[in-house]
Subunit: 335 residues, 2 copies
C-alpha cells in the first residue's frame, strides 16, 4: 500500500476537450477513517461522458468544485473498515472519484456505495458496465421509455459505446430491427458481427445519411440517442409518426452548444415523445435490471467489451477519448 | 346568392408575417356538384396558427400549392345537395378553405366535413372553438399528454389564445394551479378574472420572468406550450423533475427559425417528457372530447371568447393577428 493518495484535482473548467492542467495530479495522505466509515482502494474507474458535464457546470448534480477531487464512478476494495456492512475485502462500486483511495461513509457523503455480490465468471469491471450504471441506464431507457415492440426499428447512436451497445442488444432481444450509428469500420463490424445489430452506419463516411436511410426502410420507431447534433437530426428525419426518443445523452453538445438543440417542428409534425433519461431515477429498481441483464449475459444474449486504459494519470486522456471516438465498449481506467 | 365564388389564392410563400399579395383575392364560378357531393356556403373561417405553416412548407400535411385556394377550417351550410348525408340546410365544419363556397365530397377529397348537431344555446362558431378542433386539441393535450394531477402547477403560453384559454381552464377543473402567459394587461385580466387562472404573466413587461417565478413557487409540472422560443425557455427553467411538456405549437418559431429549438440538456437534466400534439391523431375520439367539453361549457366551467373579423378579404390580416397578439380567444373571420 502506498502511503499517499494520488488524486486528480479539478483546476480549471474545460471549454472544449480537456486541456492538460484542467485536471492536475496531486497527492495527499491516505485519509484516516472514523467510526462508521471504511477506506477502500480504488481499482477501476468508470469513464463516462457525464464527467465532462460535471467539470463544466451544475446539472443534475452540482459541478465539481475547483480544487476538489474529480468525481467519477469506480470499483474499489475495502482495505480498512470501521463499518459493519463494509468489511475488509468487500468489493464496492460507487462514486470513488479519480483517486487511489476513497472513504465509504454511508451516514455522511452520499456516494452511492454498493457492495457487489461474488458472482462466478463475472469480472469486477462488469459491475461498472453491463451489470453497473451503464447497463441499468440502457435497460430502463429501453424498457421504460423506448418500449420496443416486435418488428419496430430502433436506431442507436454511439452504438459501439458502453450504453449504446447494450441498448441495441436489448432492442434485438425484444425483436426490433436494430441499426447502430458508430464511427469507423471497426466499430460497425463489432456491433453487427459480434453484437448482432442488423446494420451499422459509419458516420465518418460521406454517404452515411443515405446508408442510414437504406438501413431503415420502414423508418425509425425508437431513437436511443447518445450524440445529439447532426446525427440526431438525421435520425429524427427518419422517424415514424409517434416515435419515441430516449434521450440518454448528447455527446456532441457537451463541447458544442449549438449541437444541443432539437427542432420543435419535428416533434410536433411527427408527434414524437422525447424523454430525458437519468439512471438515478431508477436506482430503487436497480435489482430488477441487474437480474435481467445478468440472465441475458449468462445466456450469451448480451455481449460486452471494454477499453481499459492503464494508470490514474491517464484518466484525463481517457475522458477525451469519449468525445473523439477512441473507445469501443465500456471505457475504464485501471488505477 | 352571389354567382361567383371569391377565393383567397396562395401566390407567394411568406417569410415573416404575411405580406400583401401572398394571398390574393380571386373569383371563380360557384362550383357545380356531381352525384355524391354537396355545395356549402362558408359562413365562418377558423383562423389558426397552423395556416402559416401550411403556407410555407410541407408538414403533417402538404403545403398549400401556389395558385391553390388557401386551406382553412371553417363552418358552412349546405345550399345544394346530391349527397344523402349532407342535405340542404345542414350545418357542417371541415376544411372549407378561404372562400365563399366549398364542395363537400366525402368519397373524394378528404376535407373532414362533419355535420354538427342542433344543440340549443350553442352558437355556430362554438363548433370551431370550444366544441371544435380547438377544444378537442386542448382536451387531448391535457388529458392524454399533460395528465394533470391535483395540486400540480400548469403553465400555459398564449394563454389568452383559443387553445391556451381552454387548456388552462381544463387544468383548473383538474385541480391544478394554473398560470397563463399572455401579452398585455387586458389578456391577463381576462384569463384571471373571467377564466379563473391563478395568475397571469404579461410577457410584455420587462420583469415578466421574475413574475413567472413568483407565480410558480412550487415550480412547474406541466407546460402547455403554444409559443416556443424565449417564453418556452423561461418556463422550462421553472420545470420540476419529470415535468411534461405538451407541445401544441410554437408560434414564435413559425416566423423565426431560431426560436424553434429546445435544449437537450434541459430535457435530460430534468428528465422531461416532451410530446408533440396534433389533433388529427384524436379525431376518432372526438366525441369523447366534445361530450365532456359540452358538459363543462353547459355548467359554466368552461368560458370562451371570440375575436370576429368581418369579411373574407380580411383573412390575411387576421392570420397575422395570431402572430402579433391581436386576438383574444378564438379568432374567426365572418365571411
Amino acid at each position: 500500500m502506498t502511503e499517499t493518495n494520488r488524486q486528480l484535482i479539478l483546476r480549471t473548467r474545460p471549454t472544449g476537450l480537456l486541456s492538460p492542467g484542467d485536471l492536475q495530479l496531486g497527492e495527499s495522505p491516505v485519509p484516516a477513517i472514523a467510526d462508521g466509515q471504511a477506506l477502500a482502494r480504488v481499482k477501476y474507474l468508470s469513464i463516462d461522458p457525464t464527467m465532462r458535464v460535471w467539470m463544466a457546470t451544475d446539472s443534475y448534480m452540482p459541478a465539481v468544485g475547483i480544487g476538489d477531487v474529480m468525481r467519477s464512478a469506480g470499483f474499489a476494495e475495502v482495505v480498512e473498515s470501521r463499518h459493519k456492512d463494509f468489511k475488509e475485502g468487500a468489493k464496492v462500486v460507487g462514486l470513488t472519484g479519480l483517486q487511489d483511495y476513497c472513504v465509504i461513509d454511508p451516514a455522511g457523503t452520499r456516494n452511492w456505495f454498493q457492495k457487489i455480490p461474488p458472482i462466478p465468471f463475472v469480472s469486477d469491471t462488469t459491475f461498472l458496465g453491463v451489470l453497473g450504471i451503464t447497463g441499468i441506464t440502457a435497460y430502463f431507457g429501453m424498457t421504460d421509455i423506448g418500449k420496443p415492440q416486435q418488428g419496430e426499428t430502433l436506431v442507436v447512436s454511439a452504438a459501439a459505446g458502453a450504453t449504446g451497445s447494450i441498448a441495441g442488444q436489448i432492442g434485438k432481444i425484444q425483436g426490433c430491427r436494430v441499426v447502430g450509428i458508430a464511427g469507423g469500420p471497426e466499430k460497425c463490424k463489432w456491433i453487427t458481427e459480434e453484437l448482432g445489430f442488423d446494420a451499422g452506419v459509419d458516420y465518418k463516411r460521406p454517404d452515411w445519411k443515405e446508408e442510414l436511410a437504406a438501413a431503415t426502410p420502414k423508418g425509425v420507431d425508437i431513437n436511443y440517442e447518445n450524440v445529439g447534433g447532426e446525427i440526431m437530426k438525421a435520425v429524427l428525419e427518419r422517424m415514424n409518426l409517434h416515435g419515441r426518443v430516449v434521450l440518454c445523452g448528447f455527446i456532441s453538445g457537451y463541447r458544442n452548444r449549438e449541437a444541443e438543440a432539437i427542432a420543435l417542428g419535428t416533434i410536433i409534425v411527427k408527434r414524437l415523445k422525447v424523454q430525458g433519461l437519468l439512471v438515478s431515477d431508477y436506482m430503487d429498481r436497480a435489482k430488477e435490471a441487474i437480474t435481467q441483464l445478468g440472465k441475458w449475459k449468462m445466456f450469451g444474449k448480451l455481449k460486452d467489451r471494454e477499453t481499459i486504459v492503464e494508470g490514474l494519470e491517464k484518466a484525463p486522456d481517457a475522458i477525451n477519448m469519449l468525445f473523439t471516438g477512441g473507445n469501443i465498449g465500456k471505457l475504464i481506467v485501471k488505477v
